[in-house]
Symmetry: C2
Subunit: 156 residues, 2 copies
DNA sequence: TTCATGTTTGTAATCATTACAAAATAGTTT
DNA sequence: AAACTATTTTGTAATGATTACAAACATGAA
C-alpha cells in the first residue's frame, strides 16, 4: 500500500489515512461512485468519516488529476478512478455507468475553434444490455430526476 | 407563430400560452438556458409563471423530443432547443455552453456492446476563446460547484 | 512544549429539483 | 349557458446534493 502513499506525495498531497482510504476505494473498484456510496462504504473503516471530507478530498484529487468528476447522472456527481480518456454508457433504467473504451480524435487536438480543451466528456444514454434482457422494467422517462437512493436496482 | 402551435399539436401536446411561450424561447435563441434563466426572462411576459410549470413543460418537451436536457453544468440542467445531434464546449471560467458542430460516428450505430443507445452526449471542457483572451480571470477549479447565480461573467 | 499550519468533522445554509394539492382553465355534455 | 370532467397552472412545502463555516484535531517545526 506504499504505492498509494507515493502517488499522493508526488503531487504534494499529504498522505493522511482518510485520503489513502479514499484513493484506494476510488481506484481499486472499477465502478463510478457517488459521495453517498463512498461514505456508506468507508464509514465501516473510518466510523467518524464525514461527507465534507469526501467532498474536500475528491475535489482535491480531481484538481490534481487523480480522479475525474462525471456529471452524467443528473443531480449527483460520480467519480472515476480511471483518468485515461474513455467514454461511458449511462443506463436510464438501472442508473449504472459502464466504461466504453473508445477515445475521441477531436479531443486529442487539445483545442477547437480557439477554445482550449482540458477535458473530453463523452457518454451514451440508453438502456443497458442487462436491463434490455430483463423485461417488465419500467423505464425512467428521460429528463426525470429520481433521487439516487430510490433508483437502486439489484443486478443479480 | 402558428408554426409553433402545430409543432405541439402534432405531438399531442395542448398548445397553451405558457407552452408556446416556452417553446418559442427555447427554440429561437441559440443559447442553452437553465430553468432559472428562463423563468427570469419569461416572467416579463407571463407575470404569474411558476417554476413548476417550467419544470413540467421542459420535461414534457424533452420526453416528446422537442428539446434536449443537458447535464453538463454540474448542479443545474440546461435545455437545448436544437435536437439534431451535436456536441458542446463548456467553459469553466464563464460557464457558457457553446455548440460544436461535430457528430459521433459510434453513436449513430444506435447500439454498442449490446446496450441500446438513445442519446449521444459529447462535450469538451476547458477555457473558451473569449476567456483566454481576457487575462487575469481566476479560473474555476475543476469539480468546484459554484452556484450559477454567482458565476455570471459579462461577455461584452 | 509551544506555535503554526494543515486536516477533519459537525452543523447550518444554499439551491436545484420534486411532491403535492388547491385554483384556474379548457373541452364536453346536457 | 350551466354543469361536469379532465388538463394545466400555480404556490408552497419537502427532499437531497452540495457548499460555507468554524471548532476540534493532528502534524511537524522551532
Ligand atoms: Mn469510467
Ligand atoms: Mn447545443
Ligand atoms: Zn441497466
Ligand atoms: Zn469562457
Amino acid at each position: 500500500m506504499n504505492v498509494l502513499k507515493d502517488i499522493l506525495s508526488e503531487r504534494g498531497i499529504r498522505p493522511t489515512f482518510q485520503r489513502l482510504t479514499v484513493l484506494a476505494a476510488v481506484s481499486e473498484n472499477r465502478s463510478h461512485v457517488t459521495i453517498r456510496e463512498l461514505h456508506a462504504a468507508l464509514v465501516k473503516k473510518i466510523p467518524t468519516l464525514s461527507k465534507t471530507t469526501l467532498y474536500n478530498t475528491l475535489e482535491l484529487f480531481s484538481a490534481k488529476g487523480l480522479v475525474r468528476s462525471l456529471s452524467i447522472d443528473p443531480g449527483e456527481a460520480r467519480y472515476d478512478g480511471v483518468v485515461a480518456p474513455h467514454h461511458h454508457f449511462y443506463c436510464s433504467v438501472c442508473g449504472r455507468i459502464i466504461d466504453i473504451e473508445i477515445s475521441c480524435p477531436t479531443g486529442r487536438a487539445g483545442e477547437i475553434h480557439g477554445h482550449r480543451i482540458d477535458e473530453v466528456h463523452g457518454y451514451f444514454k440508453g438502456v443497458c444490455r442487462d436491463c434490455l434482457a430483463r423485461p417488465g422494467q419500467t423505464s425512467v422517462p428521460p429528463g426525470k430526476h429520481i433521487p439516487a437512493q430510490r433508483r437502486r436496482i439489484s443486478h443479480a
